[in-house]
């Protein structure tokens, strides 16, 4: 959001400029689709909005020379994001805070892509007070894999990571208190996964703790 949103939306070339495997291929969330490795062209070619463009800045150059292909920088609708390899995660976040003044971790969240091999995107939304600039850092992890906690970098990550764990079941290594936050401790399942239905609930928990058949 640092730069203004590009007012004349660049007429998008057919297909994606820089196809990333992580983009959800146009498919309804729950419907079955082939394992989406090859990026498809957007189904109807008529509206095809703006496409992610490469993001160039001194910051990106610096880290690209350091980390090479483990890092990919893009910008979409004027918002910048870095897609990095999972192994870089605690280091690059710390560098962003210490060297680039991204002192405020706005949010940590995740997105579930069940058809992908690495099912989850973990997203950090960062803001820098001195630079008045926002960016996102994304990484992909597989189901069941864990990721380094950033509580030691930003104290606010504590509850945010707990919520990601609660909703997606992603474990954060080194988190001081990795447990559920919104749902009760004994609950089974992680509701924001795509395979968790909207009416689904932990019937057993409801039966034992509320003494009723269904919480609906």
């Amino acid at each position: 959001m640092a730069e203004e949103v590009k007012s004349p939306a660049p007429p998008p070339p057919e297909g994606e400029n820089k196809p990333t495997a992580e983009k959800p291929v146009a498919a309804p969330p729950a419907a079955a689709a082939p394992p989406a490795a090859p990026p498809k062209p957007a189904a109807p070619a008529k509206p095809a909005g703006p496409v992610p463009l490469p993001w160039t800045s001194p910051l990106v150059e610096k880290y690209r020379s350091q980390y090479g292909s483990a890092l990919d920088a893009q910008t979409y609708l004027g918002q910048n994001y870095l897609s990095v390899d999972r192994s870089l995660i605690p280091d690059i976040l710390r560098l962003l805070r210490d060297e680039e003044q991204f002192d405020y971790c706005v949010d940590i969240t995740a997105v579930h892509y069940p058809k992908r091999e690495k099912q989850f995107d973990v997203v950090w939304i960062l803001y820098s007070f001195p630079r008045n600039e926002r960016m996102r850092v994304k990484t992909q992890i597989a189901d069941g894999a864990s990721i380094a906690s950033s509580v030691s970098i930003w104290a606010t990550a504590n509850w945010l990571e707990r919520e990601v764990y609660d909703m997606f079941g992603i474990q954060f290594d080194g988190h001081p208190d990795m447990k559920r936050i919104l749902l009760p401790d004994g609950w089974k399942g992680h509701p924001l996964r795509k395979d968790y239905g909207i009416l689904q609930q932990d019937k057993e928990w409801v039966q034992i703790n509320l003494g009723i058949e269904s919480g609906q």
Partner: protein, 393 residues
């Protein structure tokens, strides 16, 4: 209430490791030897269903743990199963005392994702209603916060005056609290005849009322005793904890999204960002009082130069943003309210994440109340200004 007694454990420094210090591991509550009491979830001073487990040494607070989630409705899951338009009213149910702000953030986020913009008139209507809602939210905060501390009169005063704002909302869109005032692309309703007059009357009506609240509290000896140097949070801690809104500004950080990254029509108006110095409960009170006055300034400017024109931008009947993702945030009365939306090109969000200010700010409760008394915990919960509907979503 469970009581654990052991008079050997007196070393407070060992028992209260700073939660901001990653080197000191958290001790489980039950193995130490303090008094552990439960507060809430059904407690009038917790502003809803917040449960706080207090670890006490006598009446001194050694640590807290918040248990939240009693109002969890799965708003983000609901979003994935509704169209963009259908989800719009749901956002009002998060921070239900500032529903207009929630709607503004959501509509602007989707507009940004679709690369459309609301017309100028719609933006001005949005600013007027949002700022009215900010005043209403701060009034409700002031009334309940003062009541928690023991001053009952402000509650009646603020509710009396907040009613005037709700009347304007009701006349504008038919609802008082969960207004659903905005649509993706603009506003659904044109202002009613006499809207501008109502708003102007409200401005002249409420300005002396804010002085009245201040008269009751600002120099009140009891109020000063109960709020000065209570619940202090430093600017560095506030930033590390991601605290935003008046709580951050009271710690001396001059940061307001309306100025830092203007949205809607805020760049057209002159207003100041009030800040505090000490980051204590009293400063947060002063900051919010000053903010109400700044909101009045914004509304006055907006209502005087509200442009003519359409109120709805060019948006298709079916909201279908292109594949992509967006984060957009606004300055809600409680802090930074953000929406992170991932679109897969369908009519429903693939993922919608709400970054709730109350949830993140509540995390600071622990370091704010350490070393204080139980009665101060009530004051600090009030001063953070949480709404549990938003904390739990």
């Amino acid at each position: 209430m469970t009581v654990y007694n052991d008079d050997t454990a007196n070393d407070v420094s060992v028992r209260t490791p700073s939660r901001l210090d990653p080197e000191t591991p958290e001790k489980p509550y039950l193995d130490s030897n303090e008094l552990i009491i439960n507060m809430g979830p059904q407690h009038p001073a917790t502003h809803g269903v917040l449960r706080v487990i207090l670890k006490l040494d006598g009446e001194k607070v050694l640590g807290t743990e918040c248990i939240i989630g009693y109002l969890h409705r799965g708003v983000e899951k609901i979003a994935e199963n509704r169209t963009y338009t259908m989800f719009n009213p749901y956002v009002d149910r998060m921070d239900y005392v500032a529903a207009v702000s929630n709607g503004l953030g959501y509509c602007e986020a989707v507009e940004k994702l679709m690369n459309v913009e609301a017309p100028p008139r719609a933006k001005y209507i949005r600013v007027i209603l949002t700022e009215l809602n900010r005043i209403a939210s701060h009034q409700l905060w002031l009334g309940t916060h003062a009541l928690d501390i023991g001053a009952m009169t402000p509650l009646f005063y603020t509710f009396r005056d907040r009613e005037e704002i709700l009347k304007i909302f009701e006349k504008y869109c038919g609802a008082r609290l969960t207004t659903h005032a905005f649509r993706i692309g603009g506003c659904q309703y044109e202002t009613y005849a006499g809207f501008e007059k109502d708003v102007k009357n409200f401005l002249t009506f409420v300005a002396p009322k804010i002085d009245e609240y201040e008269e009751l509290l600002t120099t009140n000896r009891i109020w000063l005793e109960r709020t000065k140097n209570v619940g202090v949070i430093s600017a560095a801690d506030a930033i590390a904890l991601g605290v935003t809104g008046p709580v951050l500004r009271a710690s001396g950080v001059k940061w307001d999204l309306r100025k830092a990254q203007p949205y809607a029509a805020y760049s057209d108006f002159e207003f100041d960002i009030p800040i505090g110095e000490n980051g204590d409960t009293y400063d947060r009170y002063l900051v919010r009082m000053a903010e109400m006055r700044q909101s009045l300034r914004i509304i006055e400017q907006a209502v005087n130069k509200i442009p003519e024109g359409p109120i709805m931008g060019k948006v298709p009947k079916v909201i279908k943003p292109p594949v992509g993702e967006i984060y957009h945030s606004i300055e809600a009365p409680k802090g930074e309210l953000g929406y992170f939306i991932v679109s897969d090109g369908s009519t429903q969000p693939y993922r919608l994440r709400v970054r709730p200010p109350s949830f993140v700010n509540l995390q600071a409760l622990d370091i704010m109340v350490r070393g204080l008394l139980v009665a101060d915990v009530i004051a600090v919960i009030g001063t953070i200004d949480i709404v549990l509907g938003e904390v739990d979503r």
